[in-house]
Protein backbone atom coordinates (compact mmCIF):
# COMPACT_ATOMS: atom_id res chain seq x y z
CA UNK A 1 0.00 0.00 0.00
CA UNK A 2 2.84 2.32 0.96
CA UNK A 3 4.60 1.62 -2.31
CA UNK A 4 1.47 2.36 -4.29
CA UNK A 5 1.05 5.67 -2.53
CA UNK A 6 4.68 6.55 -3.21
CA UNK A 7 4.29 5.71 -6.87
CA UNK A 8 1.11 7.75 -7.08
CA UNK A 9 2.83 10.77 -5.52
CA UNK A 10 5.76 10.39 -7.87
CA UNK A 11 3.49 10.23 -10.92
CA UNK A 12 1.58 13.30 -9.78
CA UNK A 13 4.83 15.17 -9.21
CA UNK A 14 6.04 14.21 -12.65
CA UNK A 15 2.74 15.18 -14.20
CA UNK A 16 2.94 18.60 -12.58
CA UNK A 17 6.60 19.11 -13.51
CA UNK A 18 5.89 21.64 -16.29
CA UNK A 19 4.10 23.79 -13.74
CA UNK A 20 7.10 24.32 -11.51
CA UNK A 21 10.12 23.50 -13.62
CA UNK A 22 11.72 25.45 -16.41
CA UNK A 23 12.34 24.48 -19.98
CA UNK A 24 15.76 23.04 -19.36
CA UNK A 25 14.52 20.94 -16.43
CA UNK A 26 11.80 19.56 -18.70
CA UNK A 27 14.39 18.75 -21.33
CA UNK A 28 16.52 16.99 -18.72
CA UNK A 29 13.47 15.15 -17.42
CA UNK A 30 12.66 13.87 -20.92
CA UNK A 31 16.20 12.60 -21.32
CA UNK A 32 16.08 10.87 -17.96
CA UNK A 33 12.82 9.19 -18.95
CA UNK A 34 14.40 8.02 -22.21
CA UNK A 35 17.45 6.66 -20.40
CA UNK A 36 15.14 4.91 -17.94
CA UNK A 37 13.25 3.15 -20.71
CA UNK A 38 16.55 2.27 -22.37
CA UNK A 39 18.07 0.92 -19.15
CA UNK A 40 14.95 -0.96 -18.16
CA UNK A 41 15.02 -2.88 -21.42
CA UNK A 42 18.72 -3.51 -21.05
CA UNK A 43 18.12 -4.92 -17.60
CA UNK A 44 15.53 -7.40 -18.85
CA UNK A 45 18.40 -8.90 -20.76
CA UNK A 46 21.06 -8.45 -18.10
CA UNK A 47 19.47 -8.56 -14.67
CA UNK A 48 16.60 -10.88 -15.56
CA UNK A 49 18.04 -13.13 -18.27
CA UNK A 50 21.73 -12.97 -17.39
CA UNK A 51 23.01 -11.65 -20.73
CA UNK A 52 25.26 -8.56 -20.74
CA UNK A 53 24.66 -6.74 -24.01
CA UNK A 54 27.15 -4.15 -25.19
CA UNK A 55 25.23 -3.29 -28.32
CA UNK A 56 21.90 -1.92 -27.15
CA UNK A 57 22.72 1.48 -28.62
CA UNK A 58 22.42 -0.19 -32.03
CA UNK A 59 18.72 -0.83 -31.46
CA UNK A 60 18.31 2.60 -29.92
CA UNK A 61 19.68 4.04 -33.14
CA UNK A 62 17.48 1.83 -35.29
CA UNK A 63 14.45 3.12 -33.40
CA UNK A 64 15.67 6.70 -33.72
CA UNK A 65 16.51 6.53 -37.42
CA UNK A 66 13.32 4.56 -38.13
CA UNK A 67 11.16 7.16 -36.41
CA UNK A 68 13.08 10.00 -38.07
CA UNK A 69 12.64 8.56 -41.57
CA UNK A 70 8.93 8.06 -40.97
CA UNK A 71 8.44 11.56 -39.56
CA UNK A 72 10.30 13.09 -42.50
CA UNK A 73 8.03 11.25 -44.92
CA UNK A 74 4.77 11.26 -42.98
CA UNK A 75 4.58 13.70 -40.10
CA UNK A 76 2.50 11.87 -37.53
CA UNK A 77 4.02 11.39 -34.10
CA UNK A 78 2.29 8.12 -33.25
CA UNK A 79 3.12 6.52 -36.58
CA UNK A 80 6.74 7.57 -36.18
CA UNK A 81 7.15 6.25 -32.66
CA UNK A 82 5.28 3.01 -33.17
CA UNK A 83 7.08 2.52 -36.48
CA UNK A 84 10.46 3.05 -34.82
CA UNK A 85 9.64 0.48 -32.15
CA UNK A 86 8.46 -2.06 -34.70
CA UNK A 87 11.55 -1.67 -36.86
CA UNK A 88 13.84 -1.93 -33.83
CA UNK A 89 11.93 -5.03 -32.75
CA UNK A 90 12.34 -6.63 -36.15
CA UNK A 91 16.07 -5.90 -36.27
CA UNK A 92 16.62 -7.18 -32.75
CA UNK A 93 14.67 -10.34 -33.53
CA UNK A 94 16.91 -10.94 -36.51
CA UNK A 95 20.20 -10.19 -34.75
CA UNK A 96 19.00 -11.86 -31.57
CA UNK A 97 18.63 -15.05 -33.52
CA UNK A 98 22.39 -14.91 -34.18
CA UNK A 99 23.45 -13.61 -30.77
CA UNK A 100 21.57 -15.78 -28.30
CA UNK A 101 23.49 -18.88 -29.26
CA UNK A 102 26.26 -17.41 -27.13
CA UNK A 103 26.46 -16.52 -23.49
CA UNK A 104 28.68 -14.58 -21.14
CA UNK A 105 31.58 -12.62 -22.56
CA UNK A 106 31.04 -13.99 -26.06
CA UNK A 107 27.51 -12.70 -26.09
CA UNK A 108 28.78 -9.32 -24.95
CA UNK A 109 31.37 -9.19 -27.71
CA UNK A 110 28.94 -10.33 -30.39
CA UNK A 111 26.39 -7.70 -29.41
CA UNK A 112 29.19 -5.14 -29.34
CA UNK A 113 30.16 -5.98 -32.89
CA UNK A 114 26.60 -5.96 -34.21
CA UNK A 115 26.02 -2.64 -32.49
CA UNK A 116 29.13 -1.25 -34.13
CA UNK A 117 28.02 -2.63 -37.48
CA UNK A 118 24.83 -0.62 -37.12
CA UNK A 119 27.02 2.37 -36.24
CA UNK A 120 29.11 1.82 -39.37
CA UNK A 121 25.98 1.48 -41.44
CA UNK A 122 24.58 4.75 -40.07
CA UNK A 123 27.91 6.39 -40.79
CA UNK A 124 28.36 4.99 -44.28
CA UNK A 125 24.92 4.59 -45.86
CA UNK A 126 24.74 8.29 -46.50
CA UNK A 127 21.87 8.31 -48.97
CA UNK A 128 19.58 6.98 -46.28
CA UNK A 129 21.13 8.11 -43.00
CA UNK A 130 22.81 11.36 -43.98
CA UNK A 131 26.24 10.06 -42.90
CA UNK A 132 27.94 11.65 -39.93
CA UNK A 133 25.86 14.81 -40.22
CA UNK A 134 22.84 12.62 -39.66
CA UNK A 135 19.25 13.39 -40.51
CA UNK A 136 18.30 16.96 -39.74
CA UNK A 137 15.08 18.92 -39.58
CA UNK A 138 12.91 16.11 -38.24
CA UNK A 139 9.56 17.64 -37.33
CA UNK A 140 8.00 17.31 -33.91
CA UNK A 141 4.87 16.21 -35.65
CA UNK A 142 1.45 16.59 -34.04
CA UNK A 143 -0.04 13.77 -32.04
CA UNK A 144 -3.04 12.81 -34.05
CA UNK A 145 -5.51 10.10 -34.72
CA UNK A 146 -7.32 11.19 -37.86
CA UNK A 147 -10.93 12.00 -37.18
CA UNK A 148 -10.46 11.91 -33.40
CA UNK A 149 -7.95 14.48 -32.24
CA UNK A 150 -4.85 16.37 -33.16
CA UNK A 151 -2.55 17.91 -30.58
CA UNK A 152 0.19 20.35 -31.49
CA UNK A 153 3.56 19.23 -30.17
CA UNK A 154 5.55 22.41 -30.67
CA UNK A 155 5.55 23.40 -26.97
CA UNK A 156 8.02 21.31 -25.01
CA UNK A 157 5.45 20.67 -22.27
CA UNK A 158 3.15 18.83 -24.68
CA UNK A 159 5.90 16.60 -25.88
CA UNK A 160 6.97 15.99 -22.30
CA UNK A 161 3.54 14.55 -21.58
CA UNK A 162 3.79 12.24 -24.58
CA UNK A 163 7.13 10.96 -23.37
CA UNK A 164 5.85 10.64 -19.82
CA UNK A 165 2.84 8.64 -21.01
CA UNK A 166 5.03 6.31 -23.05
CA UNK A 167 7.45 5.93 -20.14
CA UNK A 168 4.70 5.09 -17.67
CA UNK A 169 3.22 2.61 -20.11
CA UNK A 170 6.63 1.04 -20.74
CA UNK A 171 7.42 0.80 -17.04
CA UNK A 172 4.01 -0.67 -16.27
CA UNK A 173 4.31 -3.28 -19.03
CA UNK A 174 7.80 -4.08 -17.84
CA UNK A 175 6.50 -4.62 -14.34
CA UNK A 176 3.89 -7.00 -15.66
CA UNK A 177 6.39 -8.91 -17.75
CA UNK A 178 8.97 -9.49 -15.04
CA UNK A 179 6.30 -10.57 -12.57
CA UNK A 180 4.67 -12.94 -15.03
CA UNK A 181 5.45 -16.60 -15.71
CA UNK A 182 7.57 -15.46 -18.63
CA UNK A 183 9.59 -13.14 -16.39
CA UNK A 184 10.10 -15.97 -13.92
CA UNK A 185 11.24 -18.21 -16.76
CA UNK A 186 13.85 -15.65 -17.80
CA UNK A 187 15.09 -15.40 -14.23
CA UNK A 188 15.34 -19.16 -14.14
CA UNK A 189 17.54 -19.08 -17.22
CA UNK A 190 19.68 -16.39 -15.60
CA UNK A 191 20.08 -18.41 -12.39
CA UNK A 192 20.82 -21.73 -14.04
CA UNK A 193 20.71 -22.49 -17.71
CA UNK A 194 21.17 -26.23 -17.21
CA UNK A 195 18.49 -26.43 -14.56
CA UNK A 196 16.09 -24.56 -16.80
CA UNK A 197 16.66 -26.93 -19.69
CA UNK A 198 16.11 -29.88 -17.39
CA UNK A 199 12.70 -28.68 -16.30
CA UNK A 200 11.55 -28.41 -19.88
CA UNK A 201 12.28 -24.80 -20.75
CA UNK A 202 13.43 -23.93 -24.25
CA UNK A 203 16.25 -21.62 -23.25
CA UNK A 204 16.90 -20.15 -26.68
CA UNK A 205 13.30 -19.22 -27.21
CA UNK A 206 13.18 -17.16 -24.01
CA UNK A 207 16.57 -15.62 -24.61
CA UNK A 208 15.35 -14.53 -28.01
CA UNK A 209 12.15 -13.15 -26.51
CA UNK A 210 14.14 -11.26 -23.91
CA UNK A 211 16.51 -9.94 -26.56
CA UNK A 212 13.67 -8.77 -28.75
CA UNK A 213 11.79 -7.06 -25.94
CA UNK A 214 15.00 -5.36 -24.80
CA UNK A 215 15.56 -4.26 -28.40
CA UNK A 216 12.04 -2.83 -28.56
CA UNK A 217 12.59 -0.89 -25.34
CA UNK A 218 15.83 0.48 -26.74
CA UNK A 219 13.92 1.25 -29.94
CA UNK A 220 11.20 3.07 -28.02
CA UNK A 221 13.74 5.22 -26.19
CA UNK A 222 15.39 5.91 -29.55
CA UNK A 223 12.12 6.66 -31.34
CA UNK A 224 11.18 9.26 -28.74
CA UNK A 225 14.44 11.14 -29.38
CA UNK A 226 14.17 12.63 -32.90
CA UNK A 227 11.01 14.63 -32.23
CA UNK A 228 12.79 16.15 -29.23
CA UNK A 229 16.15 16.92 -30.87
CA UNK A 230 15.05 17.17 -34.50
CA UNK A 231 18.32 15.42 -35.39
CA UNK A 232 19.66 11.89 -35.32
CA UNK A 233 23.35 11.10 -35.77
CA UNK A 234 25.52 7.95 -35.77
CA UNK A 235 27.01 8.36 -32.25
CA UNK A 236 23.62 7.16 -31.00
CA UNK A 237 24.69 3.69 -32.13
CA UNK A 238 28.24 3.86 -30.80
CA UNK A 239 29.40 1.46 -28.10
CA UNK A 240 30.04 4.34 -25.73
CA UNK A 241 26.31 5.01 -25.87
CA UNK A 242 25.67 1.32 -25.16
CA UNK A 243 27.69 1.81 -22.00
CA UNK A 244 25.16 4.30 -20.63
CA UNK A 245 22.40 1.84 -19.69
CA UNK A 246 25.08 -0.50 -18.37
CA UNK A 247 26.44 2.21 -16.09
CA UNK A 248 23.00 3.43 -15.07
CA UNK A 249 21.80 -0.08 -14.29
CA UNK A 250 24.86 -1.05 -12.32
CA UNK A 251 24.69 2.25 -10.45
CA UNK A 252 21.08 1.71 -9.54
CA UNK A 253 21.16 -2.01 -8.96
CA UNK A 254 20.81 -4.97 -11.26
CA UNK A 255 18.48 -7.23 -9.34
CA UNK A 256 15.82 -4.78 -8.43
CA UNK A 257 12.97 -3.56 -10.53
CA UNK A 258 13.60 0.11 -9.83
CA UNK A 259 17.40 -0.09 -10.02
CA UNK A 260 17.77 0.97 -13.66
CA UNK A 261 15.36 3.87 -13.18
CA UNK A 262 17.07 5.19 -10.06
CA UNK A 263 20.41 4.63 -11.75
CA UNK A 264 19.32 6.60 -14.82
CA UNK A 265 18.30 9.56 -12.71
CA UNK A 266 21.59 9.49 -10.82
CA UNK A 267 23.77 8.93 -13.86
CA UNK A 268 22.21 11.68 -15.94
CA UNK A 269 22.10 14.28 -13.19
CA UNK A 270 25.60 13.47 -11.99
CA UNK A 271 27.07 14.12 -15.39
CA UNK A 272 24.84 17.11 -16.04
CA UNK A 273 25.97 18.75 -12.83
CA UNK A 274 29.64 17.84 -13.07
CA UNK A 275 30.10 19.27 -16.57
CA UNK A 276 28.91 22.65 -15.35
CA UNK A 277 31.72 22.96 -12.87
CA UNK A 278 34.76 21.42 -14.45
CA UNK A 279 36.22 20.58 -17.79
CA UNK A 280 37.61 17.48 -16.08
CA UNK A 281 34.21 15.85 -15.91
CA UNK A 282 35.59 12.53 -17.14
CA UNK A 283 37.91 12.33 -14.17
CA UNK A 284 35.10 13.05 -11.71
CA UNK A 285 32.79 10.54 -13.35
CA UNK A 286 35.59 7.97 -13.40
CA UNK A 287 36.29 8.42 -9.70
CA UNK A 288 32.61 8.11 -8.90
CA UNK A 289 32.39 4.89 -10.92
CA UNK A 290 35.44 3.43 -9.20
CA UNK A 291 34.18 4.37 -5.74
CA UNK A 292 30.77 2.92 -6.49
CA UNK A 293 32.20 -0.38 -7.72
CA UNK A 294 34.63 -0.68 -4.82
CA UNK A 295 32.18 0.59 -2.25
CA UNK A 296 28.82 -0.90 -3.03
CA UNK A 297 28.32 -3.34 -5.79
CA UNK A 298 24.65 -4.02 -5.42
CA UNK A 299 23.79 -0.61 -6.73
CA UNK A 300 22.22 2.24 -4.89
CA UNK A 301 18.86 0.54 -4.50
CA UNK A 302 20.42 -2.31 -2.53
CA UNK A 303 21.26 0.04 0.29
CA UNK A 304 17.59 0.39 0.95
CA UNK A 305 16.55 -3.17 0.34
CA UNK A 306 19.49 -4.90 2.06
CA UNK A 307 19.40 -7.63 -0.58
CA UNK A 308 21.39 -7.88 -3.75
CA UNK A 309 25.06 -7.31 -4.12
CA UNK A 310 27.52 -9.98 -4.80
CA UNK A 311 26.93 -12.62 -7.35
Amino acid sequence: MKTRLAILILVVLLALLPAYAGKYALYVAIHILLLSIFSLGFNLLFGYTGLLSFGQAGFYAVGAYGCAKILLAYPSLLVGIVGGVVIAGAVSLLLGFLCIRHTRIYFSMLTLSFGMMIFSLAWKWRDVTGGDDGLVGIPRAPLEIPGLFKINMAPMENYYYVVLAFAILAIYLFYRIVHSPMGLTMQGIRDSETRSVCIGISVRKYRLLSFTIAGMYAGLAGALLPPLESTVTPPLAHWSHSAEPVLATLLGGVYSFSGPIVGSVLFYLLKDIIVRFTEYWQMCLGIIVVVLVMGFRGGVVSIFSRKGGQR
Binding site: R176, P181, T185, G188, V197, C198, I199, G200
Partner: protein
Protein backbone atom coordinates in the same frame (compact mmCIF):
# COMPACT_ATOMS: atom_id res chain seq x y z
CA UNK B 1 5.38 -55.05 -15.67
CA UNK B 2 6.42 -52.81 -18.51
CA UNK B 3 9.81 -51.39 -19.42
CA UNK B 4 9.88 -47.66 -18.77
CA UNK B 5 13.30 -47.06 -20.30
CA UNK B 6 15.46 -49.30 -22.38
CA UNK B 7 18.90 -48.81 -23.92
CA UNK B 8 20.80 -50.59 -26.64
CA UNK B 9 24.62 -50.60 -26.60
CA UNK B 10 25.00 -47.06 -25.30
CA UNK B 11 28.46 -45.62 -25.51
CA UNK B 12 30.02 -42.30 -24.55
CA UNK B 13 33.73 -41.70 -24.99
CA UNK B 14 36.03 -38.88 -23.89
CA UNK B 15 39.12 -39.37 -25.99
CA UNK B 16 40.57 -42.74 -25.07
CA UNK B 17 38.40 -43.11 -22.02
CA UNK B 18 35.09 -44.91 -22.20
CA UNK B 19 32.80 -43.20 -19.72
CA UNK B 20 29.94 -45.45 -20.77
CA UNK B 21 30.46 -48.54 -22.91
CA UNK B 22 28.04 -51.07 -24.38
CA UNK B 23 25.32 -50.43 -21.85
CA UNK B 24 22.20 -52.37 -22.66
CA UNK B 25 19.59 -52.08 -19.95
CA UNK B 26 15.89 -52.51 -19.47
CA UNK B 27 14.44 -50.83 -16.44
CA UNK B 28 10.94 -51.63 -15.28
CA UNK B 29 8.21 -49.16 -14.42
CA UNK B 30 7.48 -48.95 -10.73
CA UNK B 31 10.70 -50.52 -9.53
CA UNK B 32 12.77 -48.30 -7.27
CA UNK B 33 16.13 -48.69 -9.02
CA UNK B 34 19.59 -47.74 -7.78
CA UNK B 35 22.71 -47.40 -9.89
CA UNK B 36 25.84 -48.09 -7.87
CA UNK B 37 29.51 -48.48 -8.55
CA UNK B 38 32.84 -47.03 -7.51
CA UNK B 39 33.91 -43.49 -8.36
CA UNK B 40 34.39 -43.01 -12.07
CA UNK B 41 32.20 -45.98 -12.93
CA UNK B 42 30.14 -43.85 -15.33
CA UNK B 43 26.98 -43.52 -13.26
CA UNK B 44 26.57 -39.79 -13.69
CA UNK B 45 27.41 -39.99 -17.37
CA UNK B 46 24.73 -42.64 -17.81
CA UNK B 47 22.17 -40.41 -16.13
CA UNK B 48 23.29 -37.45 -18.19
CA UNK B 49 22.73 -39.46 -21.34
CA UNK B 50 19.38 -40.87 -20.27
CA UNK B 51 18.07 -37.44 -19.27
CA UNK B 52 19.23 -35.88 -22.52
CA UNK B 53 21.79 -33.63 -20.89
CA UNK B 54 24.48 -35.35 -22.99
CA UNK B 55 24.12 -37.09 -26.31
CA UNK B 56 25.59 -40.60 -26.58
CA UNK B 57 28.24 -41.40 -29.17
CA UNK B 58 26.69 -44.78 -29.85
CA UNK B 59 23.55 -46.74 -29.13
CA UNK B 60 19.87 -46.05 -28.73
CA UNK B 61 17.47 -45.07 -25.96
CA UNK B 62 13.76 -45.91 -25.80
CA UNK B 63 11.29 -44.37 -23.39
CA UNK B 64 8.15 -46.48 -23.26
CA UNK B 65 9.36 -47.99 -26.51
CA UNK B 66 9.59 -44.59 -28.24
CA UNK B 67 13.06 -43.69 -29.40
CA UNK B 68 14.41 -40.58 -27.69
CA UNK B 69 18.16 -40.94 -28.37
CA UNK B 70 18.65 -37.49 -29.95
CA UNK B 71 15.97 -35.53 -28.11
CA UNK B 72 17.05 -32.50 -26.07
CA UNK B 73 16.47 -32.46 -22.32
CA UNK B 74 13.64 -29.95 -22.52
CA UNK B 75 11.75 -32.25 -24.90
CA UNK B 76 12.32 -35.23 -22.62
CA UNK B 77 10.92 -33.31 -19.67
CA UNK B 78 7.76 -32.74 -21.64
CA UNK B 79 7.51 -36.52 -22.19
CA UNK B 80 7.77 -37.19 -18.48
CA UNK B 81 11.47 -37.61 -17.71
CA UNK B 82 13.12 -35.34 -15.15
CA UNK B 83 16.24 -35.34 -13.06
CA UNK B 84 18.19 -33.80 -10.23
CA UNK B 85 21.89 -32.97 -10.20
CA UNK B 86 24.76 -34.23 -8.13
CA UNK B 87 26.29 -30.77 -7.85
CA UNK B 88 23.60 -28.51 -6.53
CA UNK B 89 21.66 -26.96 -9.36
CA UNK B 90 18.83 -24.84 -8.09
CA UNK B 91 17.81 -21.25 -8.93
CA UNK B 92 19.84 -19.42 -6.26
CA UNK B 93 18.38 -15.90 -6.60
CA UNK B 94 14.76 -17.01 -6.84
CA UNK B 95 12.67 -17.80 -3.77
CA UNK B 96 12.08 -21.39 -2.77
CA UNK B 97 8.49 -21.08 -3.86
CA UNK B 98 9.51 -19.74 -7.27
CA UNK B 99 12.03 -22.56 -7.59
CA UNK B 100 9.16 -25.01 -7.42
CA UNK B 101 6.63 -22.88 -9.26
CA UNK B 102 8.78 -22.55 -12.38
CA UNK B 103 8.92 -26.27 -13.27
CA UNK B 104 5.20 -26.53 -12.55
CA UNK B 105 4.49 -23.62 -14.90
CA UNK B 106 6.75 -25.21 -17.47
CA UNK B 107 4.85 -28.46 -17.27
CA UNK B 108 1.53 -26.64 -17.61
CA UNK B 109 2.92 -24.80 -20.68
CA UNK B 110 2.37 -21.44 -19.05
CA UNK B 111 5.89 -20.03 -19.31
CA UNK B 112 5.14 -17.89 -22.33
CA UNK B 113 2.36 -16.06 -20.53
CA UNK B 114 3.79 -12.56 -20.48
CA UNK B 115 1.36 -10.27 -18.73
CA UNK B 116 -0.53 -12.32 -16.15
CA UNK B 117 0.72 -12.23 -12.60
CA UNK B 118 2.16 -15.32 -10.95
CA UNK B 119 -0.61 -15.29 -8.36
CA UNK B 120 -3.23 -15.57 -11.07
CA UNK B 121 -1.83 -18.96 -12.11
CA UNK B 122 -4.05 -20.68 -9.56
CA UNK B 123 -3.50 -24.26 -10.65
CA UNK B 124 0.27 -23.90 -10.70
CA UNK B 125 0.38 -22.06 -7.37
CA UNK B 126 -1.68 -24.72 -5.63
CA UNK B 127 0.43 -27.48 -6.99
CA UNK B 128 3.67 -25.73 -6.06
CA UNK B 129 2.36 -25.23 -2.51
CA UNK B 130 1.54 -28.92 -2.33
CA UNK B 131 5.04 -29.93 -3.46
CA UNK B 132 6.59 -27.51 -0.98
CA UNK B 133 4.71 -29.42 1.71
CA UNK B 134 5.83 -32.73 0.34
CA UNK B 135 9.49 -31.77 0.53
CA UNK B 136 9.14 -30.03 3.92
CA UNK B 137 10.07 -26.56 2.72
CA UNK B 138 6.91 -24.59 3.50
CA UNK B 139 8.67 -22.61 6.21
CA UNK B 140 11.37 -21.47 3.82
CA UNK B 141 8.92 -20.50 1.10
CA UNK B 142 10.11 -16.91 0.65
CA UNK B 143 13.85 -17.25 1.20
CA UNK B 144 16.13 -17.18 -1.82
CA UNK B 145 17.10 -20.71 -2.78
CA UNK B 146 20.79 -19.90 -2.54
CA UNK B 147 20.49 -18.94 1.13
CA UNK B 148 19.10 -22.30 2.32
CA UNK B 149 21.17 -24.74 4.34
CA UNK B 150 22.83 -27.54 2.42
CA UNK B 151 20.28 -30.11 3.46
CA UNK B 152 17.38 -27.85 2.52
CA UNK B 153 18.94 -27.14 -0.86
CA UNK B 154 19.04 -30.89 -1.51
CA UNK B 155 15.38 -31.08 -0.64
CA UNK B 156 14.73 -28.19 -3.00
CA UNK B 157 16.63 -29.95 -5.74
CA UNK B 158 14.38 -32.95 -5.19
CA UNK B 159 11.34 -30.73 -5.19
CA UNK B 160 12.29 -29.20 -8.53
CA UNK B 161 12.81 -32.65 -10.00
CA UNK B 162 9.38 -33.91 -8.95
CA UNK B 163 7.63 -30.63 -9.81
CA UNK B 164 7.71 -31.62 -13.45
CA UNK B 165 5.44 -34.48 -12.34
CA UNK B 166 7.62 -37.04 -14.10
CA UNK B 167 6.84 -40.64 -14.80
CA UNK B 168 10.55 -41.31 -14.66
CA UNK B 169 12.90 -39.34 -12.46
CA UNK B 170 16.68 -39.63 -12.17
CA UNK B 171 18.23 -38.51 -8.90
CA UNK B 172 21.99 -38.10 -8.91
CA UNK B 173 23.16 -38.60 -5.33
CA UNK B 174 20.17 -36.92 -3.72
CA UNK B 175 21.67 -37.23 -0.25
CA UNK B 176 25.28 -36.26 -0.86
CA UNK B 177 26.83 -34.09 1.78
CA UNK B 178 24.16 -34.89 4.33
CA UNK B 179 24.47 -36.46 7.78
CA UNK B 180 23.54 -40.16 8.01
CA UNK B 181 20.27 -39.33 9.74
CA UNK B 182 19.32 -36.76 7.10
CA UNK B 183 20.13 -39.29 4.39
CA UNK B 184 17.73 -41.85 5.68
CA UNK B 185 15.02 -39.22 5.96
CA UNK B 186 15.58 -37.97 2.42
CA UNK B 187 15.63 -41.39 0.85
CA UNK B 188 12.54 -42.43 2.73
CA UNK B 189 10.95 -39.29 1.38
CA UNK B 190 11.92 -40.33 -2.13
CA UNK B 191 10.43 -43.74 -1.57
CA UNK B 192 7.24 -42.13 -0.28
CA UNK B 193 7.04 -39.81 -3.29
CA UNK B 194 7.53 -42.79 -5.55
CA UNK B 195 4.52 -44.57 -4.22
CA UNK B 196 2.29 -41.51 -3.88
CA UNK B 197 3.13 -40.00 -7.26
CA UNK B 198 3.48 -43.22 -9.18
CA UNK B 199 6.91 -42.04 -10.30
CA UNK B 200 9.66 -44.45 -11.17
CA UNK B 201 12.87 -43.25 -9.52
CA UNK B 202 16.31 -44.20 -10.67
CA UNK B 203 18.92 -42.98 -8.21
CA UNK B 204 22.66 -42.92 -7.97
CA UNK B 205 23.66 -43.38 -4.36
CA UNK B 206 26.75 -44.17 -2.34
CA UNK B 207 25.32 -45.23 0.98
CA UNK B 208 25.09 -48.98 0.55
CA UNK B 209 22.95 -49.56 3.60
CA UNK B 210 20.31 -47.27 2.23
CA UNK B 211 20.60 -48.66 -1.28
CA UNK B 212 20.13 -52.20 -0.18
CA UNK B 213 17.30 -51.46 2.17
CA UNK B 214 15.29 -49.26 -0.19
CA UNK B 215 15.88 -50.52 -3.72
CA UNK B 216 13.77 -52.95 -5.65
CA UNK B 217 16.42 -53.30 -8.32
CA UNK B 218 20.13 -52.54 -8.41
CA UNK B 219 22.40 -51.86 -11.37
CA UNK B 220 26.12 -52.13 -10.69
CA UNK B 221 28.51 -50.28 -12.96
CA UNK B 222 32.26 -50.46 -13.23
CA UNK B 223 34.53 -48.69 -15.71
CA UNK B 224 31.63 -47.62 -17.85
CA UNK B 225 30.07 -51.03 -18.18
CA UNK B 226 27.21 -52.77 -16.44
CA UNK B 227 28.77 -55.35 -14.20
CA UNK B 228 25.61 -56.84 -12.82
CA UNK B 229 21.96 -56.09 -12.19
CA UNK B 230 19.37 -57.73 -10.10
CA UNK B 231 17.45 -57.75 -6.84
CA UNK B 232 19.34 -56.52 -3.74
CA UNK B 233 19.74 -60.01 -2.37
CA UNK B 234 21.28 -61.34 -5.60
CA UNK B 235 23.65 -58.39 -5.91
CA UNK B 236 24.82 -58.84 -2.34
CA UNK B 237 25.85 -62.38 -3.18
CA UNK B 238 27.55 -61.49 -6.47
CA UNK B 239 31.28 -62.21 -6.21
CA UNK B 240 32.32 -59.72 -8.91
CA UNK B 241 30.46 -56.96 -7.15
CA UNK B 242 32.07 -57.89 -3.86
CA UNK B 243 35.45 -57.71 -5.58
CA UNK B 244 35.09 -54.19 -6.82
CA UNK B 245 33.86 -53.08 -3.42
CA UNK B 246 36.75 -54.90 -1.81
CA UNK B 247 36.88 -54.34 1.89
CA UNK B 248 33.66 -52.47 1.98
CA UNK B 249 30.70 -54.00 3.68
CA UNK B 250 27.88 -54.37 1.23
Amino acid sequence: MKAIIRTESLGKYFGQMAAVHEVTLTLQEGLFTSVIGPNGAGKTTLINILSGYMLPDRGKIYFREKEITRLGPDKRVKMGISRSFQVMNIFPRMTVFQNILLPVLSRLNKTSSAFSSLQSQKEAVEEAEKILGEVWLQEEKDSPGGELSHGDQRLLELGIAVASNPQLCFLDEPSSGMTPIERIKVLELVKKLASERKTTFIIVEHDMDIVFSLSDWIVVMNRGEVLAEGKPGDIRENQEVRDIYLGEEI
